[in-house]
């Protein structure tokens, strides 16, 4: 992945240059009538309201193309690896977390052919060699409004400052380390995240450890929401979708948007799928403007089509991350760094999460 930036630039250039040569240019969201009659595609995502929303976003694609769409999930990279190793891949399009398509590009996930996709309306910097974004969201922290009445925390550095801002913290311990959080912890420890080195990972983790034994590491999004709604911690790191739901349910917390961590789910096509072109057709339909509007209206996640204008209520709108103000406040983690140091970061993270 050292050449990640180069490859990205190359693929983007190809994608932009191709319309000149290609006979038939794909347009995001466009579906050929009856083109997939009699075919079956299996779409894999994380279930719940999210996957329901994705299926709703794909409804027009299913009706027009005539494809039979099956749903499976939740996404587990281990299951996908088993399928690829066994040479029997039944998952055609897979929604994954941020990093897996970069870590397993070319081995588990196909290098995408961007002559078959219209990625022109995706926000810049989000298309990978093996992935297009599935949606955007953010990782923010919310503070208990009552605890910090007059002097609320302003950013992640305050989050890590337990002297100025005493109180308990809750952190995402649901799985892989969040690179952006470790970068912010490193910054709070006096480092410069722009120049982060593998040795600095431990410094960031130590800053997390210094938060003390009262720190809660939540295991699921639902748990983080439950913590907020019952007021269990003074500052809670949350996914924006869960933060919004907690806010709607009356959690007395205030979100902090400065340096919110930009996160996206990825759409991928595994290596060895039976009908690659059908999978591309699904991806291309998913990237369409109307599909993305439906996705946001159903799930409250941010659309990845820049022209999308979803109709949502006020609270949902306040948690969307695509407004100019939010884009200016966002913090993008160093993806190539975390891909390269994935194992080291995971090892240190697991040590932290098992009390060591």
């Amino acid at each position: 992945m050292r050449n990640f930036a180069g490859a990205l630039a190359l693929t983007m250039t190809c994608a932009l240059a191709l319309p000149v040569f290609a006979q038939e240019t794909p347009v995001a969201g466009a579906v050929k009538e009856g083109s997939l009659e009699g075919k079956t595609l299996t779409f894999v995502s994380y279930g719940g309201i999210y996957q329901d929303g994705q299926v709703a976003a794909l409804q027009e694609f299913v009706e027009k193309s005539g494809v039979t769409l099956l749903n499976d999930g939740p996404t587990e990279i281990a299951k996908l690896k088993a399928q690829v190793d066994a040479g029997n891949v039944t998952w055609d399009v897979v929604d994954t977390a941020d990093l897996p398509p970069y870590v397993h590009c070319g081995t588990l996930f196909q290098k995408l052919d961007f002559s078959k996709l219209d990625v022109s309306k995706i926000p810049p910097g989000q298309v990978g060699e093996c992935s297009v974004p599935a949606m955007n969201y953010g990782v923010i922290f919310m503070y208990k409004t009552e605890t910090y009445k007059d002097n609320p925390p302003q950013n992640w550095v305050d989050f890590f400052d337990t002297e100025k801002f005493p109180g308990s913290r809750a952190i995402d311990g649901s799985g892989d380390p969040t690179g952006g959080l470790i970068e912010q912890a490193f910054k709070a420890a006096g480092g410069d995240p722009k120049a982060i080195t593998p040795d600095d990972i431990e410094k960031g983790i130590q800053k997390l450890r210094d938060l003390g034994p009262d720190t809660i590491y939540w295991k699921t999004g639902a748990e983080s929401q439950q913590l907020a709604e019952s007021g269990e911690a003074d500052m809670i790191m949350m996914w924006t979708g869960r933060a919004m739901t907690a806010a709607k349910n009356g959690a007395a917390y205030t979100p902090v948007w400065q340096d919110w961590l930009v996160v996206m789910d990825q759409m991928t096509i595994p290596v060895g799928v039976k009908d690659t072109d059908a999978a591309y057709a699904l991806l291309n339909a998913y990237l369409g403007q109307r599909s993305q509007e439906i996705l946001t209206e159903k799930t409250s996640y941010t659309p990845i089509h820049m022209d999308a204008k979803p109709q949502v209520d006020e609270i949902t709108a306040s948690f969307l991350t695509s407004t100019p103000e939010r884009i200016a406040q966002g913090y993008q983690q160093n993806i190539p760094f975390w891909v390269e140091n994935f194992d080291l970061a995971a090892e240190k993270w697991n040590a932290l999460l098992s009390g060591n």
Partner: protein, 300 residues
């Protein structure tokens, strides 16, 4: 486990001297094939995958002992392995303390009350462990039912959730039926006339209970303890939801290696270490149990 309940009965019942002979006559040839369906399922669903796990732990990613060297070199793994056994021991002990009097009560109360007691054990048993664990979250958390109650009384709150005691409480409740049912099934087979006989020979009630009843109930205790201990070793959901970083058990680390890091060899090695450690512990406990058992028989 099923043979335990009947054994003391066999030794106690004396008015059927020809029973072993009767059993012998009733043993048709090829009866072993009755076990075939179960054996087949075990071979396919347990032995085969387990064999793959063991093989992978020595071959993935490269042949050798690398995965085991890694396991024992990591302080995290050693700490968590030790913690897993300590938690399992606590859960077994607390379950036993709760289950023994409960099972005893089930044998001495009237029919309707017994039915109610059995239902109290079985109904939670039918509920999903996740649901029960989440209920414990609501009870134990800092802003939860127990602490609100304490605050209402003007008492200081107790830290229960995300502590080891919290995990032990939750796991005990989930595993309690596995302790109560084997103990009860042995206890209900104990001939209470033996207690009366002891009393008539001059033993005080507590002595008759400790020397006659308790030894006779031990097979159930052992069966329950082993089941609870072994199930505890593999617990995942409850420690994950009720525990903090200092109460994570080994299964969570295995899950991490297998599902998140795709280090199937390392995950396999962790599983094998846990399995072997369990066998070693059972091997140590087994002679002890046999000894007690035979002494029970002699006394009976």
């Amino acid at each position: 486990m099923n043979h335990h309940p009947t054994e003391p009965q066999e030794t106690i019942v004396t008015d059927m001297p020809d029973r072993p002979a009767l059993l012998k006559r009733w043993r048709p040839r090829g009866a072993v094939w009755l076990a075939a369906p179960a054996v087949l399922v075990l071979l396919l669903a347990l032995a085969y995958p387990l064999a793959i796990v063991v093989v992978r732990s020595f071959t993935d990613p490269a042949p050798g002992l690398d995965n085991y060297v890694w396991f024992f070199q990591s302080a995290v793994n050693r700490t968590v392995l030790q913690r897993t056994f300590v938690v399992a021991a606590w859960v077994t002990l607390v379950s036993l303390i709760c289950a023994y009097p409960y099972a005893y009560a089930m044998t001495i109360v009237g029919r309707n009350l017994r039915l109610a007691l059995i239902l109290c054990v079985l109904v939670p048993f039918w509920l999903s462990g996740v649901v029960r664990t989440l209920a414990w979250v609501i009870l134990l958390q800092d802003s939860g039912v127990i602490n609100s109650f304490l605050r209402g009384l003007g008492l200081p709150p107790v830290k229960l959730i995300r502590t080891l005691p919290g995990v032990v409480i939750g796991m005990t409740q989930v595993l309690l039926p596995f302790m109560i049912l084997p103990i009860y099934s042995v206890m209900k087979g104990i001939d209470t006339r033996l207690l009366q006989a002891a009393r008539s020979l001059g033993a005080k009630p507590w002595r008759a209970f400790l020397q006659i009843y308790v030894p006779l109930s031990l097979p159930g205790v052992y069966a329950g303890a082993i089941i609870v201990f072994i199930l505890s070793l593999g617990f995942y959901i409850t420690p994950a939801l009720l525990g903090g970083p200092r109460s994570i058990l080994l299964s969570s680390l295995v899950q991490n290696q297998v599902l998140s890091l795709l280090n199937w060899g390392r995950g396999g090695a962790m599983g094998v270490v846990l399995l072997v450690a369990t066998f070693v512990l059972l091997a140590i406990a087994a002679p002890l149990m046999r000894q007690k058992h035979s002494s029970t028989r002699r006394e009976a």
